[in-house]
Structure formats: C-alpha cells, structure tokens
Subunit: 286 residues, 2 copies
C-alpha cells in the first residue's frame, strides 16, 4: 500500500498519541476515522477538528473501507482487539501501531492477521507528561525520532510506506531496527530512565526537598509522573532487556562510586569528559 491523497486512515485509540497522529493527518486533508472507548473522547476530537468521523464502538463498515489503520492502544488491548476483530479488515490494508515494546507484540499480531493484511510495527519516540486527546497536538513530533521495526514477513513497499508516515507526521529522523534491537534500545533509553526517575522520587522521603532543589533534579524526574498501568505493562513485556539494562547502569554507577570512594580523580574526570563529549550527539535537531 502506498499513501495517496484519497487514502482513508483509521486510528484506533484516541489518547495523546492517537489524537496527535489525527491532528497531523487531518491537516493534510486526509479522511481520518477514529474509534475510542468513550463517546466523550470522540466529542472532544470532533470539536478540536482532529477527525473526520468517530465511533465509540467497532464500526465494521469503517474498518472495511480503511486503507491504513493505526493502533494507538496499550499493548494487551491491541492484541485483544486483533484477536477479536482482525477478520473484519480488508485484504490490501496496511496496519501500524505506536506500541512501546515490539518483539512481544509484533510476531503475535502478524500471526493473527488474515491473508493480504500487513502489519509493519513502528514506535514514535514522542510523548508528554500529560495524556488524553485534549492535549493532542502534532507539534509533539517536531524534532523527535520515529523507529520502524519490520520483520522478514514485511514487504519493502509497506516498510517504505510506514517510514513515509513517520516523515509525514513531522519526525526529524526515521530509522529502521529489528524488533529485538528496538527492545534493547528502549530498555536503555526509555525504560531504564523511567525506573531511575521513579527511584529518585521514592527513595528519599525527607521533607521539603522541593525547597532546595535545582533544575538538575527537576530534569531527572520530569518523567517521574508516570502512568502506572501502562508502564508496569511495558516493563513486564520487555523484562529481560530492562533487567539487563538496569544491571549495565548499576555496574557503571558502582564504578563511579568506587572512583569517588578512592579519591580517584583521574577516573572521575575521564568519565565526565567522555560523558560531555558523548552528550553533544543527543542534542535535539532543530
């Protein structure tokens, strides 16, 4: 499937990310249908002009007519949806998702799809510390990264189409990884960082710390305001990679701790210089 001007999109799940996809696509004059669990969500999306039409139930007719379906659901709800409704999807339809873990989801979903329906998984590396369609905006993708995680079952054409979706949405960089590479990467860059932020917040209950803090602690804990239902699910779906990344980090922190304990200024400074040099790579693209 290639995106053309009459391509009909269906977004299943209208949270922050689903709503933000809708925001970009509708502004490019595509037909954007959406399913959400609650009528209120649909009403907000319609009043914000994010969608062409919306339903608080699974509308079979809309599924049949859709060319490109984007699932913006929690992983287990996505899998349940596919189990129940995949047979309604027309041959030739392309599917992608926004799920934050891949190898535990991608192969399973691919195995349940009817003949002629293709799923190319992807992960928009964007988010905010607020949620819900009321906060949706295509602006959250500016300067951000988009990762496509195809499997050997995918066709080159469909992989290219999902990459094109990433560019269209406004992402600064579009990359391709295997599901396994993605999960290791995300275990480090995203899941470990959320673990650290939570532990900084829960590990020290001294009163009034907020009266003394500087920006460094605020930076490291912005993501400590965390959706406990979603993230505990994501952690368990990527357990082995997350555990090994926690171990790598703890070993490194132990190394720095030993340097401090032993007055080993050389090691401390070497680590700090390496850190400073390497951090430059991660500046957001303008």
């Amino acid at each position: 499937m290639r995106i053309k001007e009459n391509t009909r999109f269906l977004i299943v799940g209208l949270g922050l990310i689903g709503g933000s996809y809708a925001d970009v696509l509708i502004k490019k004059d595509f037909h954007v249908s959406a399913f959400a669990r609650r009528k209120e969500t649909i009403d907000i999306a319609l009043s914000k002009g994010l969608i062409s039409e919306g339903y608080d139930y699974v509308n079979e007719d809309v599924i049949k007519k859709s060319d490109f379906i984007i699932f913006a659901l929690y992983p287990h709800i996505f899998i349940e949806w596919i189990e129940k409704y995949a047979h309604l999807i027309s041959p030739g339809t392309l599917i992608t998702d926004v799920t934050g873990v891949k190898s535990s989801v991608v192969y399973r979903v691919q195995s349940m799809l009817p003949q002629g329906v293709e799923f190319v998984a992807s992960h928009p590396m964007a988010g905010r510390e607020v949620s819900g369609v009321e906060n949706a905006s295509g602006d959250i993708f500016k300067g951000a990264n988009f990762v496509v995680t195809p499997t050997p079952d995918n066709t080159e054409e469909s992989v290219e189409t999902v990459k094109m979706l990433g560019w269209m949405l406004g992402f600064a960089r579009v990359s391709v990884l295997t599901p396994e590479e993605h999960d290791d990467m995300i275990g480090f860059l995203s899941q470990l960082t959320h673990c650290i932020a939570v532990c900084l917040m829960t590990g020290n209950e001294k009163p009034n710390l907020e009266r003394y803090t500087g920006d460094s602690f605020r930076d490291l804990t912005r993501i400590a305001r965390i959706n406990d239902v979603m993230w505990s699910e994501l952690f368990l779906l990527n357990k082995e990679k997350l555990l090994s990344n926690i171990d790598v980090f703890m070993a490194e922190l132990q190394k720095l701790r030993t340097a401090v304990k032993d007055d080993d200024v050389d090691t401390m400074r070497k680590m700090m210089r390496m850190s400073s040099d390497r951090r430059i790579l991660f500046d957001k693209k303008k």
Copy 2:
C-alpha cells in the same frame, strides 16, 4: 551589615554565577566591583554593563572599600584566596559565597577571617549547561531556590542580610539549613543526579542511540555535559554524603528491579503512584 543604597559590592570570580549576580546588582544601581583572573573576562563584563569596575589582579584599595564581598570561585581557590588576602578585608565587611559544598568550606573560612569580618555561606541553586561571563544573566535565578547555611558563629543580622540578597537576586524561595543538612541534601538532589547522568552517558556505547532517543533520555542527561574539574572537586569535598546517597538510590533501584523480575505488578504500580504524587511538589514556581 545591612544592604543600603550606597552598599559597595565586590564580586570575586566572574564566571556564569558571579556574572549573573553582577547583572542583577548593577541593574539595581549598586556599585559593583569585580576581580577576575583574566583581563578578557573583565572586558566582556564591562562591555555587557555588568560591573562598575573590574581588575585582573587583587586590588587592595577596592577590597578595603567593599561592604559586601561575594566569592564565586571553585572551593579550593576560594580557600586559597582567603588564606592569602583575608587580612586586607576591613572590619564590618560581610562575605558570602556560591560554593556547592558547605561543611568542608564554611568552618575553615570562618576560622581564617580577621576580627569583625563575617562570613555567612549561601548556595544559589541555579546554573546552566553553559559557563562563562558571556552567558551571565540574572534571569537564571527566576523560579530557583537559594539556600543560606549559617553557623553558630553568625549574627542574626548578617544571616538576614544574606537572605535578603537571595530575595534581591530574584530567587523564588530562600531557605536556611545547617552546612551538614545542606551537604546531605545536595549529595542527593545535585551530586547523585550528576552521577546518574554521567553513567547513563558512559555506560552504553552502542552506536546511533541518538537516532532512537526520546525526550526522557535527553532530560536525564542534559547535565551530562559537565565541568570535570569543578565536579570532581565537589564530589570529593562531599564524599561521605555522596556515597551514602548513591547507596540509598541503588537500593531503591534494586527494589524496583526485583519487582520487575518477580512480575510484582503491585509493588511496581505502588512505586509509580508514589512517584507521580510526590513529583507534583517539585514543579517550578511560576
């Protein structure tokens, strides 16, 4: 000493922080003298209108005439300066500093001062990932915290004057802690967070991670661009408190790791909810 309109300030050390103090004070029409090591620094400060006069040497006459001296130097340079030149300071002069560690500095400096010269230590909890007088601006104090760390040797009047300096500089909150409380607090909020940022940067050298990262990793590593000379000094001057705070954090991360390993969703979610609730306290005051 109380601040009046004819109070003469001397700032020793014109880096980012010293220059930013100067920026605020000169805009309030105070007379602001400054010492810096390099002539170029003085020239930049003069051309930016940050100071009334500046010297790249220790001008005895300026020291004698100053009512309020602010030391914005690395800890060991501050101590060396006091050893060499404290005898030049006139009785009745008030001194403060900006040093990031306190108990290893405050008592030592107080013990070296001539009769009638008082040192009330303080710590502006503000900074940027850039340095130098060329980046100085009083704006960096907006919404930030200022901590005064008096000892039993200080007079109530002088402590009040240094608190007033914090308010005048534009800090959102001014607090008082003992030097020991300060060092424990800073070991957690500032030094531990810098250790974490460095270890995130140095612990995983996989290539191209910057292509896949989201904002969470960027947030947690903004401070990974770190001045290795200054921070290795600060770490060693606060060694015991830093080590114990690293240990507290590692134990908490180990607790979360165990919850992930054991599929213990209850503990994970409980930690995440506690984290989310507690993080609200740390939002920056507008």
